[in-house]
Symmetry: C2
Subunit: 698 residues, 2 copies
């Protein structure tokens, strides 16, 4: 790749400009999401309480359930009909992309819009879902569209911006976008970067740390400015949430060594509940998946059923709770601060269950985290809310619409944290709000199995650095406990979606195998100068993405490996018809006349050319093409006797898509096979060598 | 590597136990260091102020300068005579170790003790040096000693513990130890982990993140307990420092968009001052290095000169400052809180310069960071203190003794931060204490060029999360500015020490070269069954660490590459004299009778066997040895035409020490060369291809 100083300079400037723009845009989208959700839900709850004050309870229920249903159906419909790739949280897809798996259409402009709109409406529909997870996908989408220089489909491209043409640059941008997304979702700049390091990216470089850090710093600054604008009250029902979402700084946080057992207890509970949550979630996702794949009507029917079911519970369960008098400290305005709900109660009384159920998730979490409120909630209300939000969370996620898992998990965790604190009673002097924070942490650790990033996010969410050791411990305990039952939820979803994610470590049995043990299927290779017909036939009859190129006599004294050629490059060559009539070298000079370097750029995430788009006449089929100029002459190779574990290390650490296997002795063909990601997947290997399943190496 | 379930279980338990123990020990050492330093310096300053109250000014100076000299001479002497590897901060050595460079004796028990003792005395000697950096080395040392299962030299080994016998496990432990060290040094658990990710380690895995996080969580908990013990006043003159070193939470931190230019200005100043600091430091280190390598006497003479010089300035400079009345808010006890120094002033007056000069660094930083103290310091005092601490910092570091760079840099940065704040006057409403924090951040960014980790450390040091966006921005600006002048200080020291650190990225000119372009020197290889004499001769005449093993007729039909054998394994084989009289295969069965797997464990960091320790009789020289059982049969190989950049990616990402180069065509010897770390160093490549120096690829 030859580029002079000017190119290099432009490249660096563009790289940083993109980080800046990604930061600004992601922050704006994150803020807009919040604004929209809080206004829609705020308006909904306002109408609800007006109708309840007028004692028109059934009308209230009708309005509540009806608006929820409409909102969710809208989200579900645009996802199903316009962009199915926008469904779910998108974190598994981003994680797979950063591992080298390009799922179709995940980073298009259409997906981005559906994701934003769908997420706003779905979250506003009082479904038990979050708005932080999708921010990862939104951030990654924005970044990827920048990386492609715009959207080709809608002709929104700018050549000046099309500068990031290889996998690595794109992957870097997507990582940065994902960090910015988390940073915007939780207003947690450091946490965002760490989450990308810990759970999203498969390769990490120090330089990337710095750039994603820049992007998240921009996010923090932009968010601060936007929130500052809203502080003057021009944002409708947007709450008072500052840069710290659930600020608990001003309260004293003291803890003793004697509180450590409680922390460990919470960790164990979180681990057990978390792994059970993952287990149940997987079951429900399987059932939903079975329904959803039938037809669009089935999807919408399922959506409606879930929405109506949850609306019923949300509205009718709080009637069980008794009315509680407003605390004396709040001077009677306990209802006006949006924290407590009057519901069916008389003036100056609040319904604790309704305050949790019929509120935005953010407000409910704020309620549970607030300190000095030990006796604000009845234990049974908390238990009821915990059980229902645990179940609602599991039931909600499989619905086809864009939303995330973080917020429901934080909320559910906070609830059992508080419940445990009440049960422990006078044993501990820990504030119940703090125990709620630890509960959230433990449940996050039990389901998502992240440690450092979740810890930092919790600290950034609550602005309470002194909690750090406790949060760390609770996360470690809950992760350890949960890991002994099953895997983390995103990996489960990854597997369920069938994305071929490649783990970084080798399984023990891979040490017993050599690469030749996993080679399968016939090898398709081309000669240095190959007949067009052969190429077309091979491309039509196989789905391989790369082929070895071998020089045979008369072009070399004996068969020798020349390199590796990509299917996408072959298609470009065929399309431009760079053919010669005879079997002879035409060479690099001719190629440089017909082709420019950008012909071979990595394509964006939209639709790609296939061999069926190339029209070759029968005469051309008999012609030849010199593949030498288009071949990568430095492919990574391994000897056939190389240990499979070592080959995997090479494949994964260097981030390859193809690896050539060469023979040990020199009297055979110069290539014996080609390894791809699929050849390293445990399913493939154990399928070829079933005895390994029961061996003690497994 | 065959191990059953029990072994695996023991391995996992041991891994986590080590993390726990490393955390506990590192925290204990970190706490002990602080305790010792604060007591020694506290006692020193107490005597000083008593003598000054008695107006015995010259005696006071004598006591001050004398105790400083003695303390520093002690530190310098033990370092020079007992363990030179303990000198300096140790961060470059740890960084190099994690890159694959084993510097001699850096992780021995002797080094550990010298490092701890020397650091305490050196810091107590009022030299302008820190105690946080050496904690990295101390942590790494402790971890490495665990990894070796104790110290062999002092027979403190335990076989049960000797379980981490390969490079990767050791490297993991050292990374964890280093994280714990930073965490203990700054009481910053998240910052510790991040520093290890960002600047120390060359390879990083998610699993490591989790384990180092556990270790730093343990550090935080143990520190909290120990500090709790001291709160009851049983620790002598140990200050009131809690888990947060310079807590500034309780003060309001507000900033506007209009303050951003100030942040950027500070960043630029920090970048310029930082790169100049690095530049001057390098010059001074070169001069000191020239003096130090002459003799031990020279070292001690230099030490004494620096100590006396700095003592003079520390004591006599404050006489310039005028006396300032104690602030009314402090109720007259401004002198008793250890923050302000009365020095030569009358009662209820303080000398601002002495309060900075004649104080522990921690107290000085606390003074500068404290908010609501905008008019406590005279601008000229700050300027004077800034200039002298800038120069003292540069003059101090080259002295032969164990100490770090962090604290002086934080202190110097805080001073110019405050000075800038005073100069800006009414332009900004930012509190001067906050500007001091930003100043520290900018200077850290300008010298050490770390971003995320320093940001988190600053936040953890000051417990002020709202500062985050500002700290991020100031760091980014200062790093960018400084990077345009020169490299970071640790890399400079690395180069100065001649440690062959391998960068992760390939230089542009490497894309133009193939691996065969950098091969140099004759290749030494062995036959599968080799004559003992040949092995001994080759080991004596070369310093290579690994040799290809080639099977030739009659053991194979044509010469074929069998694998790679390490020098250290050859030495084991020679020592045990596993010889056969004739040129024949003796095979794996015989080898398994003579050797056990642990014979080939990776050795610890102490003294190793050399070929001169092996005695071979002339008769034995004529015998043969079958190398097959001792050969690694899966070495990583590259074809000679592979691009050098790609080969470097493989070498670096997989973490290799040797890589075999195989020929392209099959009619030559099966190996054409062996690549090691040195072959990828720019010095080596540019030496072989001098024209590249001036090419535009450079």
């Amino acid at each position: 790749r030859s580029r002079g100083k000017a190119h290099k300079y432009r490249y660096v400037v563009l790289k940083w400009t993109f980080c800046l723009l990604i930061g600004v845009l992601v922050a704006a989208v994150g803020f807009f999401n919040n604004l929209a959700v809080e206004n829609i839900t705020g308006f909904k709850f306002l109408s609800l309480s007006k109708l309840m004050e007028a004692e028109r309870y059934w009308t209230a229920f009708g309005v509540f359930a009806g608006s929820n249903l409409l909102l969710l159906l809208f989200a579900s419909a645009i996802t199903s009909f316009i962009s199915p790739a926008a469904g779910g949280s998108g974190i598994p897809e981003v994680k797979a992309y950063l591992n080298g798996v390009d799922a179709p259409n995940i980073f298009t402009l259409k997906t981005l819009f559906v994701k934003i709109l769908g997420n706003i409406t779905a979250v506003s529909s009082s479904l038990h879902v979050g708005k932080a997870g999708p921010m990862v996908h939104i951030g990654a989408c924005i970044a990827s569209i920048f990386g492609q220089g715009g959207s080709q489909k809608y002709h929104l491209t700018c050549d000046w911006l099309r500068y990031f043409k290889n996998d690595r640059d794109r992957r870097d941008l997507v990582t940065i976008g994902a960090s910015a997304g988390i940073a915007a979702g939780f207003r947690a700049p450091v946490g965002g970067v760490l989450l990308a390091v810990e759970s999203l990216s498969s390769w990490w470089r120090s330089a990337l740390l710095w750039r994603s850090f820049f992007a998240t710093a921009v996010v923090a600054v932009v968010l601060r400015v936007l929130i500052g604008v809203c502080d003057s009250g021009q944002c409708g029902l947007f709450g008072k949430g500052g840069l710290i979402m659930y600020d608990v700084t001003n309260d004293t946080t003291t803890y003793q060594l004697a509180d450590l057992p409680i922390v460990i207890l919470l960790g164990i509970i979180g681990g057990v509940l978390g792994s059970l949550y993952n287990f149940l979630m997987l079951k429900v996702l399987r059932i939903y998946g079975y329904i959803n794949e039938k037809s669009h009507a089935h999807k919408l029917l399922l959506t409606s059923a879930v929405s109506i079911l949850i609306s019923c519970f949300l509205y009718w369960l709080p009637w069980i709770a008794s009315c509680r008098p407003c605390p004396s400290t709040s001077n009677g305005d306990c209802l006006s601060t949006n924290r407590f709900r009057q519901f069916q109660c008389p003036k100056n009384y609040y319904n604790d269950l309704a305050s949790l159920f019929l509120n935005t998730h953010d407000n409910a979490i704020r309620n549970l985290y607030s300190t000095g409120t030990n006796d604000f909630y009845h234990p049974l209300s908390l238990l009821l809310f915990f059980v229902s939000s645990y179940i609602f969370g599991i039931l909600s996620y499989g619905v086809v619409a864009p939303f995330g898992l973080f917020v429901p998990i934080i909320l559910t965790g906070a609830t059992y944290g508080r419940f445990v604190a009440i049960l422990l009673g006078s044993y501990t002097e820990l504030d119940h709000g703090l125990v709620a924070i630890l509960g959230s942490a433990s449940f996050l650790g039990g389901t998502m199995r992240m440690t450092v990033s979740v810890c930092v996010i919790i600290i950034e969410l609550t602005n309470n650095l002194l909690l750090l050791p406790l949060v760390m411990l609770v996360l470690l305990v809950s992760k350890t406990v949960a890991d002994s039952f099953n895997g983390n939820i995103y990996d489960m979803i990854l597997q369920l979606k069938g994305l071929p994610y490649l783990e970084g470590h080798a399984e023990p049995y891979m040490r017993q195998l050599t690469v030749s043990d996993v080679l399968s299927g016939p090898l398709h290779s081309f000669n240095g100068v190959e007949k067009v017909g052969n190429i077309v036939h091979t491309l039509r009859s196989t789905r391989h993405h790369a082929f070895p190129v071998i020089d045979e006599p008369p072009f070399s004294p004996s068969p020798v490996l020349y390199g590796l050629i990509l299917r996408s490059h072959l298609l470009v060559v065929l399309k431009k018809k760079a053919f010669v009539p005879t079997n002879s070298l035409s060479g690099h000079e001719k190629a440089s006349k017909i082709f420019v370097a950008s012909d071979f750029d990595k394509r964006g995430s939209g639709k790609h050319d296939t061999i069926d788009d190339v029209n070759i006449t029968p005469e051309e089929m008999e012609m030849f093409v010199d593949l030498h100029p288009f071949t990568n002459t430095s492919p990574y190779t391994v000897v056939e006797t190389m240990s499979l574990a070592k080959a995997l290390t090479l494949f994964r650490e260097v981030g390859l898509r193809h690896m050539l296997v060469v023979p040990k002795s020199s009297d055979r063909a110069p290539v014996v096979g080609i390894l791809t990601r699929h050849d390293f997947l445990p399913e493939h290997i154990l399928g070829l060598h079933p005895f390994l399943v029961r061996s003690h190496w497994k």
